[in-house]
């Protein structure tokens, strides 16, 4: 019998996967195509990527559904296929997951704003996330991972949407920028306020992902640790996008430099770690090695 993911977090550091979109692009996903479409059109490719992350040592893979909220899919004309594409996303990850490993249903931001900055109500957002959560839950996700949130109000709305259709544990990562006065989301939400509000909403774990590189993430995790007793998730970017000598776009923080900070992230209080933009299975393999060294 597999421990629930939240129980596992209490016993040891849990390893998540890394980037999905760039892996799909590397396998031919044309720009402009919704990555979620490939859950149905090219399921073999999506499974292969999940398989590589599991093989690299990830305990948890996140489904290919980052842009799978009904509102985001609507931008690709796929809004009415939200349930189907998310169901497929979770099923694919479930099918390839070895025994004892986990599937997190990825739920990224809608890309829209609530009133007054935007035109949407909290009810609109909750419904868009609920439809996604329903697909992910029915497809066999172990937890729902609401990620890369830049607006605390949207994150809270997403949690409520997920809760309205599913009893799965909900994890939330916000994306913070580093300022002289501390870490803030795009909307100005602080780490302290984000953690407090999300904790009050009953989420299972909170954290930070994207935007920050692994060195900056150390400070952000420290701030989170001071703000909450919940398990903390940290998924840093591999630096900033940069143009390589071959003219291709890569990320500025190389693998060695990236993983150098992994143990510090863990020691600062993160119980769930993984990668974000610019990372790939090789990063996760290197992180797995670091974590093994630490625990042995």
């Amino acid at each position: 019998m597999t421990l629930p993911l939240l129980a596992l977090v209490k016993t040891r550091t849990v390893l998540l996967d890394g980037a999905m979109g760039t892996e799909l692009m590397a396998r031919g996903l044309p720009w402009g195509t919704a990555p979620e479409a490939w859950n149905v059109e090219r399921p073999d490719v999506v499974k292969e990527i999940h398989g590589e992350y599991f093989a690299a040592g990830a305990d948890v893979v996140s489904t290919n559904s980052f842009g799978g909220s009904a509102l985001k899919l609507a931008g690709h004309g796929l809004g009415d296929r939200t349930y189907e594409l998310n169901l497929a996303a979770a099923r694919l990850a479930r099918e390839i997951a070895p025994a004892g490993r986990y599937v997190a249903g990825s739920m990224g931001p809608t890309g829209k704003f609530l009133k007054p900055q935007g035109e949407f109500t909290e009810e609109d957002f909750a419904a868009a996330y609920a439809e996604q959560a329903r697909g992910l839950a029915d497809g066999g996700a172990d937890v729902l991972l609401i990620e890369t949130q830049y607006d605390l109000r949207e994150a809270l709305t997403a949690v409520r949407g997920a809760r309205s259709v599913s009893s799965l544990p909900v994890f939330v990562t916000m994306t913070f920028n580093s300022f002289p006065r501390g870490f803030f989301t795009l909307m100005g939400d602080t780490v302290v306020r984000s953690a407090a509000e999300l904790e009050k909403e009953g989420v299972g774990a909170v954290g930070a992902n994207c935007t920050l590189n692994s060195e900056q993430m150390v400070g952000c995790v420290r701030a989170l640790r001071e703000a909450t007793a919940l398990p903390i998730i940290a998924q840093a970017n591999a630096g900033q996008p940069a143009i390589g000598p071959d003219g291709r776009v890569g990320y500025s923080q190389g693998l060695e430099d990236y993983v150098r900070f992994v143990l510090e992230i863990v020691r600062s209080g993160a119980g769930v770690v993984g990668g974000c933009c610019g990372t790939n299975p090789a990063f996760i393999r290197a992180m797995a090695r670091k974590l093994r060294e630490e625990s042995s």
């Binding site: 979109g21 720009w31 402009g32 890309g111 002289p180 006065r181 989301t185 996008p241 940069a242 143009i243």
Partner: protein, 217 residues
């Protein structure tokens, strides 16, 4: 001569993002026959500059920036018809065509830049997101724009910023427009590499850059 107190109230209305106050003060200025250029340049514009400073130092965030830009636009909507009626030419920022490049549906950053440019006095033609490259050129030609702003959030779609410059070159229009690029993966180095005229890291910097481009820096 307008009372300093009134100019200060205008300034404060923009800094506070108080659209109602910004509009009421503008209407008062029109009614009292005040020098509207002075109202704009000494009352409202410094407020927007202050907002930019607060944003850049991390005291203001997106909601405040949007509120202030909206207050500014609302005040200008009251003042501009009066300027036109009196044949007064305000310092115009020029025409900008802006959009997120094709293949990319992310538009938060682009919308913010468009809003700030508009608040900063530019005439903005926003083509939206996932915009075919040809449309940028067509629109710029039709409206007689000086500047084309290209946004991209993805490392995979930013290459379309490079393609647009190639497209302008092919059409023999490269020197006719200033091409500015932005978005999370873009950088000054990227702009140099693809031969763009400039890169701005954020919406406030974008307005400054656009001003420099048209010789108002």
């Amino acid at each position: 001569m307008i009372k300093d107190e009134l100019l200060r109230s205008m300034n404060e209305a923009i800094v506070a993002g108080d659209k109602g106050a910004a509009v009421a003060l503008a209407a008062d200025a029109v009614r009292s026959g005040a020098n509207l250029l002075e109202v704009i340049e000494k009352g409202y514009v410094p407020g927007l500059q202050k907002v930019g400073e607060l944003w850049e130092q991390g005291d203001y965030f997106l909601p405040e920036l949007i509120s202030s830009a909206e207050a500014m636009k609302a005040a200008m909507a009251v003042l501009e018809p009066e300027l036109d009626r009196n044949k007064i030419v305000a310092r115009k920022g020029g025409k900008v065509v802006i959009g997120t490049v094709e293949g990319d549906i992310h538009d938060i950053g682009k919308n913010l830049v468009a809003s700030m440019l508009q608040a900063g006095g530019f005439e903005v033609f926003d083509l939206g997101a996932d915009v075919k490259l040809e449309r940028f050129v067509e629109k710029a030609e039709i409206v007689g724009a000086e500047i084309i702003c290209l946004s991209a959030l993805l490392t995979t779609t930013m290459t379309n910023q490079r393609r647009l410059i190639g497209l302008l070159r092919d059409k023999g229009l490269r020197d006719k427009y200033k091409v500015l690029v932005g978005g999370a993966p873009a950088s000054r180095k990227w702009a140099d590499e693809i031969g763009a005229d400039g890169y701005a890291e954020n919406a406030v910097a974008a307005v400054k850059l656009a001003r420099t481009m048209i010789g108002q820096g």
